[in-house]
């Protein structure tokens, strides 16, 4: 299969207005991916599916990623004129990156026996605008997996034929795979607690002020 740079160039030539960005993967796998913009995602996916050289006709896996709000600190050395003298001063800038949700598609070609090509799409935020275009019309195998992402991450896929929860029950309101999910508290009976479980089980312990003293009982409210 041709390289990401080449595919990116060919997509941008074939689909006018499409914005493709190569997302580097620094891990040993070096599996870089193409981030495609939501507006042209359907056309780009259709092109990847139909292009005779690529023919990515098999979508093997779709998964979600949750990225929380984060701040990136950068320290840059800048030359500045202080009191008439030119000095080198290090300046720290903080960049706030708002959180977003991501859907990642792994594409293979059964015709040419090549792959994977990894494409991803990003939502603008993690709350009301957590919407992405559905690629189920192009790869039918994405149907259940997009439903799973909808269930566990809360991304709504526009154009999905049957967007319902698939693992949790319909009345459930949370998205358990999100990083800020707080699971229900049923830790009242933990015979051998340790680590996080110990912290949560302690909230159910009856207070023993005569033995522990008041300060040893932690009652941190992890439910927020």
């Amino acid at each position: 299969m041709e390289g990401q740079e080449q595919i990116k160039a060919r997509i941008e030539a074939a689909v006018p207005g499409a914005i493709v960005e190569i997302v580097q993967n620094a891990s040993p796998s070096q599996q870089h991916s193409l981030k495609i913009d939501n507006e042209h995602a359907h056309d780009v996916a259709k092109w990847l599916h139909d292009d005779p050289a690529l023919r990515l006709d098999f979508c093997s896996n779709v998964t979600g990623v949750d990225w929380l709000d984060r701040t990136v600190k950068k320290t840059v050395k800048v030359k500045k004129v202080v009191d008439g003298e030119e000095k080198e001063v290090s300046e720290t800038t903080e960049e706030k990156i708002p959180g977003y949700l991501e859907a990642v598609y792994h594409l293979y070609s059964m015709t040419h026996k090549h792959g994977p090509l990894i494409i991803r799409m990003r939502t603008t935020d993690r709350a009301e605008n957590a919407c992405l275009p559905s690629l189920t019309p192009i790869w039918r195998s994405a149907e259940f997996q997009e439903r799973e992402i909808f269930d566990l991450y809360g991304i709504r896929f526009d154009g999905h034929p049957d967007l319902r929860r698939i693992l949790m029950w319909d009345e459930f309101e949370d998205h358990p795979m999100r990083k800020d999910y707080v699971q229900p508290d049923d830790f009242e009976w933990e015979p051998t607690p340790h680590d996080d479980v110990l912290a949560r089980a302690k909230q159910h312990y009856a207070p023993r002020p005569e033995l522990d003293g008041a300060e040893k009982i932690t009652t941190t409210d992890s439910h927020g």
Binding site: W169, E171, P176, Y181, Q183, P184, E188, P191, Y205
Partner: protein, 207 residues
């Protein structure tokens, strides 16, 4: 053993070809040797349960080979596997549909406590939160021998049940419930997360 019969007299009568028994003994003998399990499995423990039912381990030796596909015809519910929170209401509903007398074996680590998935958001931490369990089998999964042992324990338990008196069997006591509330799917968890009339966790002793 039947009450009110002198064991010596009984033995002497038996030597003369007269067999003396009591209604209770006969009743329990019949019940304990024809325990029909409900045919359903939830996870990998069910594979061990199938092996127990097949010829090598052969639960038919104990009268339990007739796995019924209907709760109306079953006496024993073998909760074989992980009970997810989505499945738990259906398990309770099946239990409620079974006719008295009915028994429950919680098979494997998941059914008794949630097992390796205990800290998961979607797994019930033991089926004894909603229905009374007669025999617990630890193991992941328990071997067929363990299930047979549990089955024999249950038979022993049935054999000891009283037909009358203050501590008579649960199914003969009109005061005892035979159905339990089915938990509802809540916004964050099952509601209620446990039935406080059934689930009595022991107090944790802290050193």
């Amino acid at each position: 053993m039947s009450e009110g019969i002198d064991e010596g007299l009984r033995s002497k009568l038996q030597q003369q070809g007269v067999w003396v028994s009591s209604m209770q003994e006969l009743y329990n003998w019949g019940r304990k040797n024809s325990i029909w399990p409900l045919q359903f499995g939830l996870a990998c423990c069910a594979i061990e349960m199938i092996a127990t039912a097949a010829s090598r381990y052969d639960i038919a030796r104990f009268g339990g080979e007739v796995f019924r596909p209907s709760p109306r015809q079953a006496d024993l519910m073998i909760v074989a596997g992980t009970v997810t929170k989505k499945m738990a209401p259906q398990i309770v509903r099946l239990y409620n549909q079974m006719a008295d007398p009915k028994y429950v074996i919680a098979m494997g680590a998941c059914a008794i406590s949630g097992g390796p998935f205990k800290q998961g958001y979607n797994v019930l931490k033991g089926i004894d939160r909603y229905i009374p369990v007669d025999v617990y089998i630890p193991g992941c999964p328990p071997r067929p021998e363990a299930l047979l042992h549990a089955f024999m324990e249950l038979q022993r338990k049935i054999d000891e049940q009283k037909l009358s008196g203050a501590n008579k069997a649960m199914h003969l006591d009109r005061e005892q419930p035979s159905e339990f509330p089915v938990p509802a799917f809540g916004k964050h968890d099952l509601e209620p997360p446990a039935n406080s009339n059934v689930f009595h966790p022991p107090a944790i002793e802290r050193a």
